[in-house]
Amino acid sequence: MTTTHHDAPDAKPVDVNDPKLSRFDVVKEGLRRDEIELITYESQFQGTNSKAEKRVVRNIALLFIIAGLAAFAFLGFYIFWPWQFELGNTTSDYFTPLLGISLAISLFAIGFAILAWAKKLLPHEVSIQARHDGASPTDEQKITGQTMIFVGDELNQGVQRRPLLKGAIGFGLAPIGLVAAAPLIGGLIENPHKGEHPDLFTTGFSAAKNGGNLVRLTRDDGTPIRPEDVSTGGQMTVFPGIPHGATNEYADSPTLLIHLRADDAAETRRNADADRRNQGSMWGNYVAYSKICTHAGCPASLYEQQTNRLLCPCHQSQFLITRNAQPIFGPATRRLPMLPLGVDEEGYFVATSDYKDTVGPDFWERP
């Protein structure tokens, strides 16, 4: 069917019960009622059963068949391919790629088959439909507006004339609103400052966490550390030697213990002693800084031995170890707190007190 229709926009209504009308005529009556004008509606092919049409049909059929085959392939891989992870067995590594490829081929084939059907087989058409933008008729606007005001008046007058009601409504409704909010806020809210030693300002190195005894520095498996365990120029991540000290329960406690070379240590000590808080916090050539970046709380764990810098990999704040871990580049504003170091009678490192500065990202009321 090759037809090009140029219906006038003011096409005449037809009687849809007229038995002489074709189905297409009825459809066109529907278009007329929906204010649609069919400009072009024509087959993509010249004549029926043309060579081009047959080829398109063959291609679409082929695509559908490919889709089915690929879907079977997906099921085959899913069911029969060894999928369980085993060390050294690389066959199972191909499980996910095979699923992906077979499913993708299947879906693409369906997709392109449908697209080809729509674009190549269905008649090409151009329709024009009228828009109806803009406001409603002014009388409609007026009626609705007046109705709304009338409703408002009805409610309002009742309140205006009866002041008792006004007060009662206010008194009655406001608390109900608060009731809705109360469990949500009340249940969620936590006071960050509660307790004698709020977690905000305390780490696992506080003696209070260890029954009043000084806290040892330990590895993540809980073993204590002797000074000779850290080689010169070396560093080690240490945790408070208390139960769960190396877990996320003490997320602000991880500390970097550094064994400085003698000349660096001298400079670090000079700078530390010139500072009120860090005075006397070093032990020998050892210094310990909080590992938690004062910017956003990532572990500032990249230690550059040559320049004595600590770099935070999240936002690239850099801290100079020899100068009280002052930030020298990046968005951090505050130095890394220094942990006062000591060695107990058994020869293990201890924290002689908790950090004197607040550990971790900065906040409004930090002392």
Binding site: G111, E190, P192, C298, Q316, G330, F363
Partner: protein
Amino acid sequence: MKRRKADLQQAPVTFAKGVDERFQASTPLRALLNKVFPDHWSFLLGEIALFSFIILLLTGVFLTLFFDPSMTETAYQGAYPALRGTEMSQAYASSLHLSFEVRGGLFMRQMHHWAALLFMAAIVVHMLRIFFTGAYRKPREANWVIGMALFLLGFLAGFTGYSLPDDGLSGTGLRIASAIMLSIPVVGTWVSASIFGGEFPGHLIIGRFYIAHVLLIPGGLLALITVHLGLVFKQKHTQWPGPMRTNTNVVGERMFPRYALKQGGFFMAVFGTVALLAGLFQINPIWLFGPYRASEVSSASQPDWYVMFLDGLVRLMPNWQIYIGDYSIPPLFWPAVVGLGFFTTAPMAWPWLEARKTGDKRVHNLLERPRDNPERVGIGSMAVTFFLIGTISGGNDVIADKFHISLNAMTWGGRIGLIVLPALAYFIAVRVCLGLQQHDREVLAHGVETGIIRRLPNGQFVEIHQPLGPVDEHGHPVPIEYGGWVVPKKMNRVGALAPAVKGFFYPVEKPSEAPVSPGMPPVSGDTREEITSGRK
């Protein structure tokens, strides 16, 4: 008992009549079947987001069947040997279980993640299309606002989603989120303590993020997407200018069957793309990151791409702390809280700002080509440049590493670039738009360049132009008014030269037409005339 013979032929009719008696569905259904949609490839970008969202819902439901949002510590005993015996949260252990011990689980997880990335990418590209063509103008301002809200919700959905596996990378992301909350003046510590249920990380956050990620945020997305599409339906889609197209009509094709079929095919293609990505390209290999430990992080810790601009802005922010008495505002506050809030909400006001500036109160159903509004393109280019520099800076450590550039130089480059380049982009974009306008006008006034050079008797060379419209008595083209749509600039666009024969194995029987505009009956080949050199 006599059995009544069922009339199968009549059954659908009876059923349809029954439905209509109850719901009066005939007229609205016919209007739906007949609804005319304008067609252009750029109108399909939002569809990609919609289809990705459907894939997200399907794969997400699958994932919830296996994921355990619990922070209880457990020793891993699963199939992945490298982590066996490691203490980790249930959430991480169940994510590993899902990846290694559920048949096809890894494939589903990767589909979910890729679909999420595609969802956000499609939203951004769709939004750029809307912006640069002025599709947000009256009467569609509300849909612009909803679109921005959808981006923000998608951002939150993504962030809560990749925090759930509780691996090393997502834990670091949570740590930064907590620091961002802490940086809010006055109430920061209260906000962080309330959301995490105490000090970071606590034992609640995964469970809270889980319910936000699987119920609250998708619920919001679903509601907003429904309204978004409902408004597109009610207000009818915008269309490009062109022949027959006016502000008061829609030129295109009816929704059923052709348009709807094309949409279905496109959905399958999007689905296939996600499946291919999920099968071939590893995304978020959580087993390599290990469980979250507050003391561990790897370098090159990057968030998903749509969060990178925020991370980049945080990296570029100078260390300016504001002290107010005993209190202070950390620099993190400005990019992460004020910045994110500003960049996701301030653009909502843009349609009204533009309308106020231009005094334009009319209804616009015809799109504008970007070149026709250089000012808007300039401002859009500024925003895009700003976003890109932020995004690049979000990975500046990787760039510094791979290209052997100093990290500090990358940071300073970003800081300076953030101020200088958007202004430069504005200038360049405006000039490019004006240049394109100029060329359109030139062609309309003088005709298409034919490439044929003629030598005049006085020795002068001139190029012959093919006028696009009628000529006056001197043979000069009568200038044609610009219609807001593509101006043909090559001879074969006006039917002078037959385009190369299409078809890979077989030539198509009829040389294909050269459409002047989509939806316009093509220029027919019969009226072609050979262009001669002019030498008789």
